[in-house]
């Protein structure tokens, strides 16, 4: 692109160079003509000498002719030619016109001989005409001498004219030519200098404009919404990356300089047009509305996305056509709402934890007193069995209450327990053994664990985690035949999502993903925790083939006191305790459930440093969870 000022400067430069060139040609032509004129300029009167030489030659020929024929006519012609010859001699001798010739010193001797000889020839011709034939040879000789004189005279004058006379003028002409050439060279050089300078400045301006344009295009290219800009001639000026992606990989219709209508037609091909109307009409209306400034309309693409199409007029008479992906915007707004809910949920969990932890601590002190006194009563009432049974019921109820308090403290993460390196497989095996004792025979249980699944944790809390998950699995199966599979492995951290789906980064909070697997089935994957994906870990999986977990339950199931079980059947603290224990170990919980098909809980716990080995004390030991 060139600026108007640059174009004007170029035009002025071109006109100036052309003018200089034409002036140079005219000047050169004038100099050549001047040179020709100089070379054809003679002494005033030189022509008289030339004519004299011609007449001398004719006289010589006339004598020769008369000597051959001897006729009276040739004699008369000889006499007339003598007159003509003498007239040129007298012209040289007397005329004002030939004064310059006579003034040339070098030819004055020749002129003297010429004038003298002419008089002698005149006399000889007179005698010949009078009949004295003896004059013939002498006359011929005299005329030949005259002819030699006139020839020398003429040649000398011509030579002198072309050298001496014209030399000064030729020198002047040469100086003029040099001056003109220098003038032209100077002017031309100045113009070339100006042209080069202007070209350099124009190049710098073009490079700067190119850089600015590249920066602008880069910035525009990064815009999320697709848009395309056309000029007032209806040609594409620019289309950003999002717009080109909208049309396809190559998107030749969006190339700068191509007709804007081609891009709109390509868009129309990708849109779901009104099925009721003729395709041509719907397509034409789409194109018309898409390029009408000030309009906006919604259209759905064949890939399911919905776009808002807008057309605006630019200040230069062009068009800016913007497309806003409402589908993407809706998804982003939905995600934003989910994040907001998750934040509120996390705040609620935090508040509940603090409340429950505070109450549980005081309540635990009370239970300690009750338990102590109940045990004293038990000892003192050995002789009164009926009262002793009541005292023991108090002890049992107090112990159960103490267990609930421990669950509350676990959720509130107030109780770190006695953390040490333990083999999770051993704990899981033991917990599963206890579960089998309370599970109906219709439920099959299996356990698989590799050796050396060592983690640093309180064994009691780990057992609590396994037990709570297994009890929930059992309750999910209910009275129906089913299976509970407990699997211990050491995988890389993996949410287990299908390939191509985004793996959420590990972070605190809850992320819920909806994934359609089979028609009619809803699969939900929930992720809780903030474990680094590349950290070595142990994964405890508890899988059942129960009824699965609905989404609304999934979102709240880690809340304390939230339960779907009947009154008296669940405290609503089991999964809350699992949540608190696993997160206190910097672990992660992954719930993968398919409604009507079953649920898998995966508990990822970082492995102990050094991997498998004997149980060894951890870095710190916490106070007992309960005072009972």
């Amino acid at each position: 692109m060139s600026l108007p000022g640059t174009r004007c400067a170029r035009s002025f430069l071109a006109v100036t160079i052309l003018t200089l060139f034409v002036a140079g040609i005219f000047l050169a032509r004038a100099l050549v003509e001047e040179g020709t004129l100089i070379s054809s300029t003679y002494h005033q009167g030189t022509w008289g000498a030339v004519q004299n030489d011609a007449e001398a030659l004719k006289l010589q020929l006339a004598i020769e002719r008369y000597r051959r024929t001897g006729s009276p006519a040739d004699l008369a012609a000889l006499g007339l030619q003598r007159e003509l010859f003498l007239s040129r001699v007298y012209f040289l001798r007397d005329a004002q016109e030939t004064a310059q010739v006579r003034a040339v010193p070098q030819i004055q001797p020749l002129l003297g001989k010429l004038f003298d000889g002419a008089g002698a020839i005149d006399d000889q011709v007179d005698r010949l005409i009078a009949g004295d034939e003896s004059q013939t040879d002498g006359l011929a000789k005299a005329v030949a001498e005259q002819r030699a004189l006139t020839r020398d005279l003429t040649q000398y004058l011509l030579l002198q004219d072309s050298t001496l006379l014209n030399r000064g003028r030729m020198l002047d002409l040469f100086e003029q030519m040099i001056a003109c050439v220098l003038l032209i060279l100077g002017a031309g050089g100045s113009l070339v200098f100006l042209a080069l300078r202007q070209a350099k400045a124009a190049q710098a301006a073009r490079e700067l404009a190119s850089q600015e344009r590249a920066r602008l295009e880069s910035a525009l290219d990064g815009a999320a919404d697709p848009f395309i800009v056309g000029d007032h001639d209806g040609r594409v000026v620019f289309a950003n990356h999002a717009y080109r992606a909208l049309l396809g990989t190559a998107a030749p219709q969006a190339t700068a300089g191509t007709p804007l209508r081609g891009a709109i037609e390509a868009e129309a091909e990708r849109a779901t047009l009104d099925a009721v109307r003729q395709p041509e009409d719907a397509r034409a209306e789409f194109i018309d509305r898409a390029v009408t400034p000030g309009t906006s309309f919604l259209a759905k693409l064949r890939d399911g996305r919905t776009f808002l199409y807008r057309a605006e007029r630019t200040s230069e008479g062009g068009l800016v056509l913007t497309r806003t992906d409402l589908t993407e915007r809706a998804r982003l707004e939905r995600e934003r709402a989910e994040f907001r809910d998750q934040f509120h949920h996390a705040m609620k969990m935090e508040a509940l934890g603090r409340l429950a932890g505070g109450i549980a601590h005081d309540f635990n002190n009370m239970l300690t007193a009750i338990l102590s006194f109940a045990e004293l009563l038990d000892q003192d009432l050995a002789d009164r069995p009926a009262q002793q049974r009541m005292a023991r019921k108090i002890v049992g109820a107090t112990l159960r209450a103490s267990g609930l308090v421990r669950q509350i403290l676990s959720f509130a993460r107030k109780d770190q327990g006695d953390q040490r390196a333990v083999d999770l497989g051993d704990i899981a095996r033991e917990a599963l053994g206890l579960l089998r004792a309370t599970t109906s025979a219709s439920i099959l249980t299996s356990f698989t664990a590799p050796p050396g699944a060592t983690v640093v944790a309180d064994p009691g809390q780990l057992s609590q985690v396994v037990m709570n998950l297994c009890v929930n699995a059992r309750d999910a199966i209910g009275e129906r035949p089913g299976a509970i599979e407990v699997l211990l492995e050491r995988p890389a951290f993996d949410l287990g999502l299908p390939h191509g789906k985004a793996q959420p980064t590990a972070r605190a909070g809850i992320a819920t993903l909806d994934i359609d697997t089979q028609p009619g089935l809803r699969r939900h994957v929930m992720h809780v925790g903030a474990m680094a994906p590349d950290k070595p870990c142990v994964c405890l999986s508890v899988r059942d083939n129960g009824g699965g977990i609905p989404r609304n339950v999934l979102e709240r199931m880690f809340e304390p006191f939230y339960t779907t079980k009947g009154v008296g059947q669940g405290s609503g603290l089991g999964l809350a305790a699992v949540h608190g224990i696993v997160l206190s170990l910097n672990g992660t919980i992954l719930v993968d459930t398919v409604e009507g098909s079953g649920t898998t809980f995966r508990i990822y716990i970082p492995m102990a440093a050094g991997g498998a080995g004997e149980e060894r004390p951890a870095g710190r030991a916490a106070a007992p969870a309960t005072a009972a």
């Binding site: 009276p72 004699l75 007339l80 003598r82 005329a95 004002q96 016109e97």
Partner: protein, 155 residues
């Protein structure tokens, strides 16, 4: 007999070519157009015009006598915008007829009171009144002042 005739012819020729300028004019005729030819004697019968002027061809001021060109053309019945004049050595010039109307251009046959021989640029010389008209004092006019006129024709 033959010798006698030849001697008489030579005598005649001698009279023609060698006659004195003061005494007798040249007998060479001037042809004007296709049907008119005149000798000096014939022209002397027409009104005489004298011009005193300097020319580039002679030293000093000279008195020419002759007949006005326009009178001669009228006598010969020759009308043409441009006249072609030819000298004895076949040198030619073109003379606008308007010169004859505008100026007293004469066909001179006497120079300083004497008939002009061929050697004196005679017998007929076209003379412009250069001293009487400043605009005639130039090279172009000098070029048109043809000597030893032999014929005058329409161009």
């Amino acid at each position: 007999m033959i010798r006698a005739i030849f001697a008489a012819f030579l005598l005649l020729l001698g009279l023609i070519c060698g006659a004195s300028a003061q005494e007798q004019p040249e007998s060479l005729p001037l042809a004007v157009g296709d049907h008119y030819a005149a000798t000096v004697a014939d022209l002397e019968k027409l009104p005489v015009t004298r011009i005193t002027t300097k020319t580039p061809f002679l030293p000093g001021e000279t008195v020419f006598e002759g007949v006005l060109l326009r009178d001669l053309l009228k006598a010969a019945g020759l009308r043409a915008a441009t006249l072609k004049m030819t000298a004895l050595n076949d040198y030619t010039v073109e003379v606008p007829e308007s010169d004859a109307e505008q100026y007293d251009v004469i066909v001179a046959y006497k120079l300083d009171g004497k008939y002009m021989r061929v050697r004196d640029k005679g017998p007929f010389w076209l003379v412009y009144p250069m001293d009487q008209h400043a605009e005639l004092r130039n090279e172009a006019t000098a070029t048109k002042m043809i000597w030893q006129i032999k014929t005058i024709e329409a161009e």
